[in-house]
Assembly symmetry: D2
Homo-oligomer: 346 residues x 4
């Protein structure tokens, strides 16, 4: 019997990507997709690419109504909205995979400092951080999964083996990241217009991006100590993809070969993490369209720094794909169910 | 038992796309891929996107050696080269799907006028033109399938129902097409450099493109009369995709609703042709990454012309995907085996 | 003494381009630029590219107030708005260069059929169509210049010599055009988002684009007879540039060499029209950033058709540059004053 | 009387840009441009964008022959080639502006470690490093100017005021840069193909890029001490532009307002350096097409780091524009002669 799934808030790029992936998932039946804006409109009229792949129409149903139709719900909503919707599903005994930031942080004060007041304090802190490579066992048992941010996914996966092995002076970590425009969503903003983005490249929210506390929470946990990082996001003139170039000073002598071998071992059992051959570096165009995270490594003896470069598709491993991976785990399906898409290159 | 396949000439974009599709095909085992340039190199070292998806290494084996390994071979070679290789496989009793132009034309003089001298006259004329929507039954029985060109696929599928219904003054047909750069292959040409293409748009080979006779051959067959068309290819600053905008004067009064309904009927049984809702037009970004051909229609009463717009992914429905569709037919597999990729949008 | 200029509605891409060009024009002083949205904001805060080039601040002044400051005004406003503003300036004795469609048509019924009711009937029909290559002498004497649309500029310049020489069967003219996204303006529309446009290509408003009557008006005038054309605009994933590929059946035998020579002669005195060498075709990337219109030619003896391809930068020769060219003529300045920008290639 | 200039090696993107700029320079006459590959071909046949702007034909003349025609020569040649050509012009009493790396370093051993054996030891060390904002007075008197690399220009200008004011712990400097593809030149390399670059983003030559010693040489000089930096170049899917995001730990408490004010003062007299308003960051699309370097600043109190972001057009301020700026200084012309191009935005 198939798992019954629903998507609450399915008219943005992440929602569309969830529809696309779930429509091809052999063990899942997508029961309902909601959108206030497009209520009553066929999904394939909004997204002609999905014509023939789904016959669903956007619904304006309430969370209570949707809860009756599904076993698991994906919330593809802005932060601050999920916290009002998630409790309805949890109380109805449904599994919730929340793609917003509302349940990612474990410290309420930190959430309220970087975001805003939180309305759902009773469930806050009860979610598992949905990065399977870190929390696979917890995800399997969870009823509330906070799907990680796109930048955090790339940075945490990039640093995990090095931090677990105490290779880094954690006070020196700098993450310089660049994202494709789909990360900004489908809202019609001047800054997301083709003419504003194409041919351009810029940093934004320098030292102030809201993914910072989420990255620090997980890196601190991995390292077992408290520290801050520098994180600078940039906007790339591409549709999909995140590349993070992470710098840190080494605390021990280690060769590239040793570091590479350590990373290969650390991720040997992971289906969705690939370590680039030593001396080569990932390109977002080699992961786009897939759930992969590619990681490349460099050791610079001149400066005693390691440079770790990781690449993901922000809409897949950075959002919808990882959410489906979490659903698979939480619903006891094969972890790669529906996720066997190969990167679309060129 | 799986079908054993091989690809002769697998280092270009079409070859890569064949590897990508066949690696995910549940009924196929890819036995060998050849490349003189990359002999001995792992496919995933040339195309890191395929890391984890194939463990093949490029081989420099002869056609005779490859023939021993496979039931079916894809020739992803330049025209003029296939004609030397295909006979080896045919004589060895293997099915051949040739992606070059060498066997597409049925008239030798036409081939030699637009291309060059043909060396394989004994098999010339024995191939079926591998457009399943036209020649499905013949393809099922064929040992030599000439996979159509990318532009012809888009134009022929766009015009088929109108021609079959004698709606057009065939002397007025003009096909204005635009293709992504992958159509030019992976050879390092100045004209294919990012800086030459990005931000640009231009026509090329105006009135002289070699796909012209192939288009005319099939359109003439459909209409049952001989005529020439105007065909102008353009180079788009995108990686994948072809859009053809085809103009013709109507010979009868027909409304858009009637024309639309005629097209919907004509393609009702086809899995890979989608007719856009009346009043909407296809976008290459809604088919890219998939084997779909989307077709949109307009009737202009001011000029008594029909405008038919069709979109495909040139590497998939325009090359590798159609080749796999042909293999499925020729090998009695489900026609959409390995081809259930949804378009990657955005 | 310098000409005093103002721009009414200067916060869009065309307005910005006018500021950019006029700031570098040695005989012009830009006195005021208006924007309701950005009133009180420095131009260089909205467009950092202009930092150091202009110290102007957007003003919310009325037409009456602006009229006191300037000799000539550019109206970079949507159609339907210009018609309310232009009369104020005309009555104040100022020269008006209107970049909207409000005064381009000479037939009121045609305007109201394709656009909407016109509120300024007393000045309607008094404007000169501001295509210097057609109406140079009239422009010099005019107080109201209707700056042509971007698509019409490319198509009319492309056809002019052929029509003047009666080479074409005018009933067969088809103009297949493609434009960069800046033609859609700086309004935040979903359809202009990077993720909607990049990697895509599509036709829009097939048979219904409002530039059609303007193109037909001028082509009919050139040919001395009434006829309709097919015009299909497409959206290109580039910021700037229009390429028009125009088809028509020849009424006489003419070789490419003869046609080429006729075009070279026809435009010999024109600074901003360049005829591509015979056998080569223009690329929008070779005109972008300049006021040039490049024209290439093909004769196809197989179909007895001519194919004329023209390329412009839609924001310059298709809008702001042509407007400045018109201002130069109307104000007795050198026609290329401020317009000596070379194309930015690559 | 005009300065007579020549370009040796003018068929690449930098050479083309020099032709473009010098053709519009009012005090310069471009006498000759050389190219072995295109000898005898009109420049405008290779670069149709320059049609009407130059009537020059590529020459295959020797350095000795070119030296007779000009007062100043630009060498737009690969490193290792300039060193064979420059001496001819120097000995003939001509001013030489070398755009290669051959004379940028002051330490021969460093050159030979990062590049290759140097053949022109008698002139090595006699060049001035052609960054006008650092060495204006020396450039005015020099006969051999080593035009800086594109990455170094962006990084050195970004760090200069901070280093001069001893604000930084120099051991912590990390420069994370990204460049448009034109930086790789016009050679037909697979890695520069549209399909390899578009939609992609990757790091390359991590810790090993040859611009590193040049950057360190100038930063060490500015700081008055010896240190190494981390420098990671990335390839952007854009034609032009470099953005460098530079990180360093502060040695003193300083607010953003104070730092911003220090930068504004430091560059107050510079025509081609613009400091972004505090809290805003530069975008390469706001400098492309111009000789500007835009610099933005952030102070992160959480990590005690400064983040300095600088943007240039790699072909202009990073190559040809800076070369012309150097020529202007060396030839006693206005420093911005021929360089008053405004950025082409959007």
């Amino acid at each position: 019997m198939k798992i019954k799934a629903a998507i609450f808030g399915a008219s943005g790029y992440t929602g569309q990507e969830l529809i696309r992936i779930l429509s091809g998932h052999p063990q899942v039946e997508l029961m309902a997709v909601t959108s206030r804006r497009y209520a009553g409109v066929k999904v394939s009229d909004v997204f002609p690419s999905l014509s023939g792949l789904t016959s669903l129409t956007y619904s304006n149903a309430t969370p209570q109504e949707i809860a009756k139709l599904c076993d698991v719900v994906f919330l593809a909503l802005p932060h601050g909205v999920s916290m009002d919707i998630a409790p309805v599903f949890i109380k109805a005994g449904k599994k919730v995979i929340d793609l917003s930031a509302d349940y990612r942080l474990r410290d309420l004060a930190t959430y309220e400092k970087w975001y805003a007041k939180h309305n759902s304090a009773d469930f806050f802190g009860q979610a598992v951080y949905g990065l399977p490579e870190l929390y696979r066992q917890e995800i399997k048992k969870s009823r509330l999964i906070a799907n990680p941010g796109c930048y955090p996914t790339s940075i945490i996966l990039g640093l995990m083996p090095a931090l677990k092995n105490n290779l880094l002076d954690v006070s020196t970590i700098i993450a310089d990241s660049a994202s494709g425009v789909s990360g900004a969503g489908r809202d019609p903003l001047v800054g997301s217009l083709f003419c504003e983005v194409d041919g351009g490249f810029k940093a934004y929210k320098v030292g102030k991006h809201r993914h910072t506390p989420e990255i620090e929470q997980e890196l601190n946990t991995l390292a077992g100590e408290k520290f801050a990082i520098s994180f600078t996001p940039h906007l790339l003139p591409v549709k999909r993809g995140i590349l993070s170039t992470v710098y840190a000073t080494l605390t021990k002598d280690i060769t590239l070969a040793e570091l590479h071998s350590l990373y290969v071992s650390a991720y040997a059992a992971e289906k969705f993490v690939r370590i680039s051959p030593a001396g080569t570096y990932p390109n977002i165009s080699s992961v786009c369209g897939s759930n992969y995270c590619d990681i490349g490594l460099a050791v610079d003896p001149r400066t005693n720094r390691v440079i770790i470069i990781s690449a993901i598709d922000n809409l897949i491993k950075g959002a919808a794909g990882q959410a489906v991976q979490n659903m698979n785990l939480a619903c006891s399906l094969a972890e790669d169910g529906g996720l066997q898409m190969s990167p679309l290159y060129p």
